[in-house]
């Protein structure tokens, strides 16, 4: 079969390399790459043959699978194996969309555009790699590969405390990756898997004893959890977000956090059902804590970006909760929510970025009534906020609804907690809008222009997606359910 997935990766790689050296034309190359990538993604989804379903004792199937020998040492059998199912496709789509939105949004990046666009593309390449990798080493490789461009994006293009934030981000998430790597290696070698391939690990992982599974699962969970991030390992996130440039925040919130969720589903939940079952109480506690903490702390934030960052924590907490439920409904909700959050948080980070460079500050109390001077920006803010607080007809709602339904299904009245937190989430967004968008104008410079076309276009794309998929969520859901989460046997 034609190696389509390699083609996708190659497109991005080529684009990255050319962008790096393209200098003034970097943005055009980046845009072209993004468009080709989006087209390829569309083609992948179009041609996706569907998921074959579970067969007893077999590995869940993948489409467009390719496998080439990479490192074969007898005891260490590593292959370059890639393949996709519904979950990966959805997240690849998210990557494609966010990539194009980011490229457009930062169209007039003047500080070293070549490296900027190159690093943006590289980040996306890493994410796509994570989503298609079906080999533990390949997976880990892409997983780590994402860190480096993001480190540079934050550190070079970021805000005043970017140096500290970039270091913290890099070290913190790297520590987590390391623990995860221990888990992954343990998974291979304790299960007696014959190779690092997903299929081999999957079958071998299922055969492990409960105790081993639990330890491995917890190690993996720590690695993925920091990426989520879960409370109390979340403090790298606000710093990273606040200091990151807008494009960096977009990718960070939109894609990097998703890696955690994806990894947890693909490499932990599906492979280690018994360990997952044992760890469920832990996951629940952490998920609830994350949900509540993210939302409550958001309420106290003055910095718009920090507020959005904590709301991301809150949303990812819901994702974790949905995963922790271990039902196929929950997993579906998790993936859906990841997509939704990817789009919405990206939108909100773009809003924060635009607010910052339109008004010179992101401090909510020192701004007020910006609607008349920048109606488009205000509208984007509203759409983003409303979507984020889970308003129906916008993309988050079907996801959150499913997540909460699954929670009711799994945990009954515990659903009251996330439900209650929904009110707090609504509160901080609505309050933020009241303070920033409405009321008498305050803190508005003499000459203010509404969004430049490229920023508006970048956001507009996301807004459109927010609404279209909010109204027609089945477009995504059908894709997501075409994956092993459909009929997931549960822990």
């Amino acid at each position: 079969m034609f190696p389509v997935l390699s083609l996708v990766l190659a497109t991005l790689l080529l684009g990255t390399v050319v962008t790096f050296v393209a200098g003034r034309y970097a943005r055009w190359v980046a845009l072209a790459t993004s468009i080709v990538f989006l087209a390829e993604t569309a083609a992948l989804i179009w041609q996706y043959p569907g998921w074959p379903g579970y067969t007893s004792g077999a590995v869940p199937g993948f489409a467009f699978q390719e496998s080439y020998a990479w490192i074969h040492l007898g005891w260490l059998q590593v292959n370059y194996t890639v393949g996709v199912d519904g979950i990966s496709l959805v997240l690849i789509l998210l990557t494609a969309v966010l990539q194009i939105a980011t490229v457009v949004y930062s169209w007039e990046e003047t500080r070293r555009p070549g490296p900027w666009f190159g690093l943006v593309l590289l980040t996306c390449l890493g994410c796509v790699g994570v989503f298609v990798a079906l080999d533990i080493l390949l997976f880990f490789l892409f997983w780590e590969a994402v860190l480096v461009p993001m480190f540079f994006l934050i550190g070079y293009w970021g805000g005043p405390r970017r140096r500290y934030a970039s270091l913290k981000f890099f070290v913190y998430t790297h520590v987590a990756s390391i623990v995860m790597l221990v888990g992954l290696l343990g998974l291979v070698f304790y299960s007696g898997a014959t190779s690092f391939d997903y299929s081999s690990v999957y079958l071998a992982g299922h055969g492990l004893m409960t105790v081993t599974q639990t330890f491995l699962f917890l190690a993996l969970f720590f690695g993925f959890g920091v990426k989520f991030p879960v409370v109390p390992f979340h403090t790298w996130l606000p710093d990273a977000h606040v200091e990151a440039p807008t494009g960096g925040s977009v990718l960070l919130a939109g894609l990097l956090l998703k890696l955690g969720g994806y990894g947890l589903i693909r490499w932990a939940v599906l492979i280690l059902p018994l360990g997952f079952h044992e760890a469920q109480p832990v996951l629940f506690v952490i998920a609830f804590a994350t949900i509540a903490w993210g939302s409550i702390v958001s309420l106290a934030q003055r910095d718009l970006k920090r507020l959005v960052a904590f709301s991301s924590i809150n949303h990812m907490g819901i994702v974790l909760l949905a995963i922790a439920l271990g039902s196929s409904l929950g997993l579906l909700a998790a993936v859906l929510l990841m997509f939704a959050h990817g789009v919405v948080s990206a939108l909100l980070f773009m809003v924060s970025g635009s607010v910052h460079h339109t008004y010179g500050t992101r401090d909510i109390p020192s701004l007020g009534g910006i609607t008349p001077s920048t109606p488009v920006l205000a509208t984007m803010t509203m759409v983003g906020s409303l979507a984020s607080l889970g308003l129906p007809w916008l993309i988050s709602f079907p996801a959150e609804f499913t997540a909460l339904l699954a929670t009711w299904d799994g945990l009954a009245y515990w659903v009251l907690l996330p439900l209650g937190i929904l009110v707090v989430t609504a509160a901080f967004y609505i309050w933020m809008m009241q303070r920033m968008l409405f009321g008498p104008p305050r803190g508005i410079p003499e000459t203010v222009h509404d969004l430049p076309w490229f920023e508006a276009a970048g956001m507009g794309l996301l807004v459109a997606l927010t609404i279209v998929l909010g109204v027609l969520p089945f477009l995504l859901v059908n894709l997501i359910t075409s994956s092993p989460i459909a009929g997931f046997p549960g822990p």
Partner: protein, 616 residues
Amino acid sequence: MVLGLLIAVGEMLSPGTYVNSQFTWLHLAGSPGTFPNGVSLVVGTLVDPLSALLLLVVTVVGFLVMLYSIGYMHQDRGLPRYYAELSLFLAAMTGLVLSNNLLEFFLFWELVGVCSYFLIGFYYEKPSAASAAKEAFLVTRIGDVLFLLGIFIYFYHFSTVGPSGGWAANGFVFANGTAPYLPVVSGSGSTLLTVAGLMILGGAAGKSAQFPLHVWLPDAMEGPTTVSALIHAATMVAAGVYLLAITSVFIGFTSTDQLAIVAIGGFTAFFAATMAVVHPDIKRVIAYSTISQLGYMVLAVGAGFAMVGLYHLFTHAFFKALLFLAAGSVIHAIGTQDLFKMGGLRKSMRVTSAAFLIGGLALAGIPPFAGFWSKDDILGAVYSQLGSHPLYWPFFLLAFAAVFLTAYYIFRAWFLAFSGDHTRDPTLPHAHEGPWVMQVPLVILSAFAVVAGLFIFLPNFQALLLNGAGATGIPPVYGPTDLALSGISVGLGVAGIGLAYWLWGNGRVYALPEDSPLQSVRKVLLHRYYFKVAYDWVGLRLVYGISRGADFVDRYVIDGTVRGLERVFGSVSNGLRRAQTGAVSDYAGYVIAGLLGVFVLLLIVAPYLLSKMGGG
């Protein structure tokens, strides 16, 4: 909108017709546990008597308000925004009414909520408007969240116990006349149902501004008056009642729920009326009146007479919209909402004055105006159920007392605004009637306010209600069933009007003596029972305080630990570096110490560990 009207009229003409079509909006994966066949969330339309009734209201009032707005809003900057939002609202409201399942209902329910949010905050430059919008959103959000839980419970409940595939295939689809799942429901665990009912009640209370989630509605008057008329009087706020009505089939099975609904309705009817008694703002008086009237409807639904509640909803929509539009006309003319600045407007604004009077009479329940029929129906219906639970009594009495208050406060408002010779505040501009686009809706609504109650005598309408009742499974009660009861209530209404006339008529302004013990009551009422203060305290002080505390903990405890770890490593590092003295003798010493360490490990520690490990 016209189409909606046609459907409604069609339904009117041929009661008992159902239009039900749907498609799958979201099919969620099946899992071996709870949902073996997956979960289908569908979107569909269902026209049944209930929806037809409401559709009629929405379309008629909506049309009239739109018309009125042409005149009322003509000088406003954000006109495109206004119409866009209003249209979106009407679309959403229509969707809500036509929904064939709870989820879809919820989708539109939220959409009308957000439209309401936008429209309340229409004058967003005004901090009070922005604040009111926020308040409305958040308070209703509390209700929505509860509602969502209610939906989950229904969903879970039915899909668990339902015939295999039944609910899984149909999702949340509710009654379309045959209600195939009813037997299943009646035989199942009632605790869950009770909780679900209470959750639904919570949602309804939020939307319909029932106690204790009533605080947002008076503040919502920050929006344009037209919006108040359409959304916060006639349609959206009634959606809560509508919700209770369509779910009454479930709720009706648990007496606890019924009692809760009755309690909330009855109490709110009285509670809101008391606040209306002293308020100086014309729109807020009407707003409290709305809350109070919604309380009646809720009461009716709670007592088991959903269609009676809807009947009142129907009439109330007209006369309350009328009152609002009339008030809007006044505000449009003189630019203030303070009753104590008005006066004598009867002369300069005859149409408005008459319209307000008609609305007031309807509200006060004076026959033959619309309010009389429906309100008496409610009182009669509740009265008929008094035997079913002893606790119905106090709430019935409260509702009954509210009749008196209602008549009093609305006529207090009428007298203050329209009677007398001149405006009390001489600085106000000279009042004049608005353009015809504003007057025509007033006239039409006045007509409805007069005759809407009489619809009950139309056989088609009656049949509609009967069919609706059939759908909800509750026996209907129509028309004044108990003449004595009606008499008392009308008497109370007249007494209220009389009191109002005595205190405020002909331009009189009654000042409560300073030393009157009622002063403290008045103060409490003016401060709305300190509810807003309490909400603000909870919202600002408590939640925000907790949140600030959490933020502190996040920055200095959790992140502090991370940074502390950095510092620990740093100081360990510095400590170790101090050993790097640069003196080679020291280094040689380390080597020898290391040698001895190796000896200790090899000869003492390792053998010990090995013996512990058992040779491994």
